[in-house]
Structures are given as structure tokens and as C-alpha cells.
Amino acid sequence: MHKTLERQIKKFLSGADVSAPHWQDFLTSIDQAYIHFDEDRQLMNRSLEISSRELMDFNEKIATEKAKGDIVLESISDALFVTEKNATISLINKSGEILLDCDSDAMKGKMFSDLVLSINLENGESVPPEKQPIQMAISTGNKVTGTFLLVKKDSSRFLAQISANPYTINHQIAGVACIVRDVTKEKEIDRAKSEFVSLASHQLRTPLSTIGWYTEMLLAGDAGAINDEQKGYLEEIYHGNKRMVDLVNALLNVSRIELGTFMLTPEPVDFVELSKSVIKEVQPQIHEHVLNFEEKYQPNLPVVPADGKLSRILFQNLITNAIKYTPPNGKVIVSLSTALGKDMGHGNPTEEYVLFSVADTGYGIPKKQADKIFTKLFRADNVREKETDGTGLGLYLVRSVLEACGGEVWFDSEENKGTTFYVIVPLSGMRAKKGEKALI
């Protein structure tokens, strides 16, 4: 019998004959109830013990994670602002305090737009709060980035790259984490570098003109007859100089693209005529490389509003690459047609484009280097071994120009089988871009 029941019988039922059968039945069922109750209690105790142990573990985990989070926040050199859904700041790291020269407590509950003025770099006007990354990220639910000139309360200013990333709780946007980076120095260095290249290139062109013109005159016999050996040497000088001029021009173009100072002026361009004229210019190289050259033009190809000079750069680069990187007796096919974005899997599906393609049976682009082919100063290993003449700037220029004008470039290639480059320009025309400098 359960101990408690036994005690209570002794205390309350003393003198009663508990051995009588009706008592026996009664007490047995109570005894069972007591035993069940005990079992239940033990069970509950055990689960309580487990829960509290788990809770303690959990608390420890939270504390560890918080400590980690805190140290991560303090360690990152970029300023971080975390906001609530209403864009008010709830968390700032040390770098944020330093950047805005303001105590964390003084910033909490305020909006980022209350603390600094954001200036649009293109028009110099201040950006309203609802157009700033934090509020845009809250209203769109997407990551929003941008570069602005930020003006602090004390009127000091700096160039900042801002990236606002929304976070969700239970699938609802709950606020944003916003990273602000002072990029003043980076931009200055970048600008100084590009300006140096631009200046140096200009200065280089005068002596290059001198070399070019005097060599031209010697070759033409302006200073008297020359023998074949002398002619051969002078031709080497002339072509070496021409390569240097091309390199300087390419460097100037790159610096203009990187300074953002190049301009793009669309005017009606007949791509077929342009292609024919570029091919005429490179006829000597086609001949020298013994290539089978084919041109395929869609009849009545529409005239497209495009920048003539830039289009020429695109055509020249892709055609001379095909010639340079195709072994003798190979084939190059240049073609121009119109195509819809969706049929090519490039551009906007519903937009119509002019498609310029150059297919060759050349060395091809190694698969493992395919993603680097448009990178500045990159040259694929297989062609570097075969052809020394190449700046590593051509395809970089092609892609930069197309990115600026709403076009696209891509390629298919198999090593030692050949490569096809595709360039598309919207039939509606290249996007105009105001700038100080034309490309050369």
C-alpha cells in the first residue's frame, strides 16, 4: 500500500475495521490513484528537469551568439546601421558612431536621413528620404545600393557607398541593415590613376607622331633611295610604332571609360557599310594569315542610331581578334542580322536587336579562362603563347562600351575548334551618354 495512504488510514480511520470487504475495495482503488499520481509526478519532474537544462543551454547559446555578434559588429570597419520597419535606427556599430561623429544613443530612434544630407552625384540635388536606399529597401523588399555625397551636421562631407539590405521576421519586412562606406579616398586614387594614364597617353602621342612621320618619309624615299634591307628595318620601326599608337589609344579609351568622361552620341549608322569598311582596312592581315573570309549580311538591314566611332571600335576589335587568333587556312565569317532577345536568350526577350557575329575556326578560349576573357589586361594562356601582339584591352573596351549603351556581348568557344563572338545593339539605338571625351 502507498505509504501516504497507510499513514492517513492510521490517522483518520483508527478503530475502523479496514479489513472488511467494502473497505478493501475502496482502499485498493484509492491506493491505485495514489500510485498513478506518483508516477505522473515523477514523469513531470523529469521533463521539467530536461526543459530547464535545455533552457540553460539555450541561454548560453544566445549569450555566445550575442557576444560573437557584438564583436563582429565592432570589428567591421564599415559603418552599420540597423533600422526598424519605420526606418528609425535601432542599432549602430562603433564605425557608425565614428563615421557620423555622433553617439550611438543620440542616433537611436532617429532616421538616417535626419542625421545626414544625401546628395545625388549627377545633379547635385539632395535626395528625399523616400528615395534613399534605406527607405527604398523597406518599400521594395530588395537590396538597394548607391553612391552619394553625404553632408554631416557640421557641413563636412564625404563620398559614401551605401548598401541597404532588408531583413524579415516571419516573412514580414522588419527593417534594414545598412552598410555605409566612406569611398572618398578610393575614388580619388582611381581618378588620379585614370588621369595619369590619360595625361601620359597624350604626351606619348607627340613623340609617336614624330617617329611615325619620319619613318613614313624615309620609306617613301623623301631622304633619298633606300635599299631593301633598310626598307625592311624601317618597316619594322613603322609597324612597331603603329602598335604603340594603338596601345596608347586603347589606354586613353580605357581611362575615359573609367573616368566616366567618354561620350556616346547616337546618329544613324549603316552597320553593313561599317563592317565592310573595317574589313577593307584589315585586308592585308587577312591576306597575310591566309584566311578564308566570308561576309553574310541580311538584306535591307535597318540603319541604327549608334555612335559611329564606338561601333567601329567594336567591329575592329572582334574582327582583328578573329584574324589574329585563327591559324592559316582557317575560316572567318562575319554576319549581321536582326533578332529578338528571346530567340537569342540575351537582351530583353521582347526587344529587337541588331546581331553582329564573328565566327572563326581559331585557337578558341580555354574553358577555365572563359569567365576572365572580358577582364582588363587579361590574355588567355593559349594565345599568349602564339601571338605576342595584344594589349588585353580590346574585349574589355568592347564590353564596357556595350554596357554603357544598352547592348551585350557574349561568345561560344571550343579550344582548337574556334570561337563565335556575338554583339547585340538595340534596334531602337544605343543609349546616349553625355561626356567630355570621345573614344578614339
Binding site: 619620319y214 618619309m217 570621345a438
Partner: protein, 131 residues
């Protein structure tokens, strides 16, 4: 003051500050049958314009010695009824596109970047214009 040209010979005024280039242009133009007058400044170019009995064509650089650029010279030449018909060929490495636009607007015949063109090509274009 330059000598008077021979009968039927065309006179070209070259305005270029870089001596080696000036020299190359002069020799090439003389070898191509031109009577050549050279200067490195806008001021002297203008006094040649006044003094010479005729100038048939002008070869002009943008940046020059002394005060004034090629553009200042063009403005003066094209603003003078006596001279405005004279074709001007601007051959420069340094002029920016806006300046090129200004040159074209003021009515120069053609603009070349030095490093990208051969002398014989520019001279062939010149001959075509002044025939």
C-alpha cells in the same frame, strides 16, 4: 618674310609648335610640290596672313607657342572676308572633342589626330580640296 612662290605653285602656311613635326611636315609638303611658310605662334601666323600675297591652304595645330591656340587663329581667319575661303586642315593630338566640334563649327575643312594619320594621306586630302 617668305619668298614669292613660283607660277602655279600652291602656298601652304604651317602653324605647328613642335619643331621635329614642323620640319617633317615642311619637307613632305615641299617634296609634294607646295611652297611652304612655317610658324610656331598665332601672332606670327596672322602677320604672315597679312604679308603674303596669297595662302592657298593652312595646316594648323591646336596647342601652339606663345599666346593663343589654333582655335583663336581659326576665329580670326574665318571672321575675315579676305581669308574665310581658305581651307584649314587641323592636325592635332590633343584637342578634345568639344574643341574638335568648335573647329568644325567655325568651318575648318578637316580634323586629324596626328598619331593616327600618315602625312601622305593628309596631303592627298589637301590636294583634292585645293585643286
Amino acid at each position: 618674310m617668305a619668298e614669292e612662290p613660283k607660277e602655279g605653285q600652291k602656298t601652304v602656311l604651317i602653324v605647328e609648335d613642335e619643331k621635329p613635326l614642323l620640319n617633317a611636315i615642311k619637307i613632305k609638303l615641299e617634296n609634294s610640290g607646295f611652297d611652304v611658310v612655317t610658324t610656331r605662334t598665332v601672332d606670327q601666323a596672322l602677320s604672315y596672313m597679312e604679308d603674303l600675297s596669297r595662302v592657298d591652304v593652312i595646316w594648323l595645330d591646336h596647342y601652339l607657342l606663345g599666346k593663343g591656340t589654333g582655335l583663336d587663329f581659326v576665329v580670326k581667319v574665318k571672321g575675315n572676308d579676305k581669308w574665310k575661303q581658305i581651307p584649314i586642315f587641323v592636325v592635332s593630338n590633343t584637342a578634345s572633342p568639344e574643341k574638335v566640334q568648335s573647329y568644325i563649327k567655325f568651318g575648318v575643312t578637316k580634323y586629324y589626330t596626328k598619331a593616327d594619320f600618315r602625312l601622305d594621306q593628309i596631303i592627298a586630302d589637301m590636294k583634292e580640296v585645293i585643286v
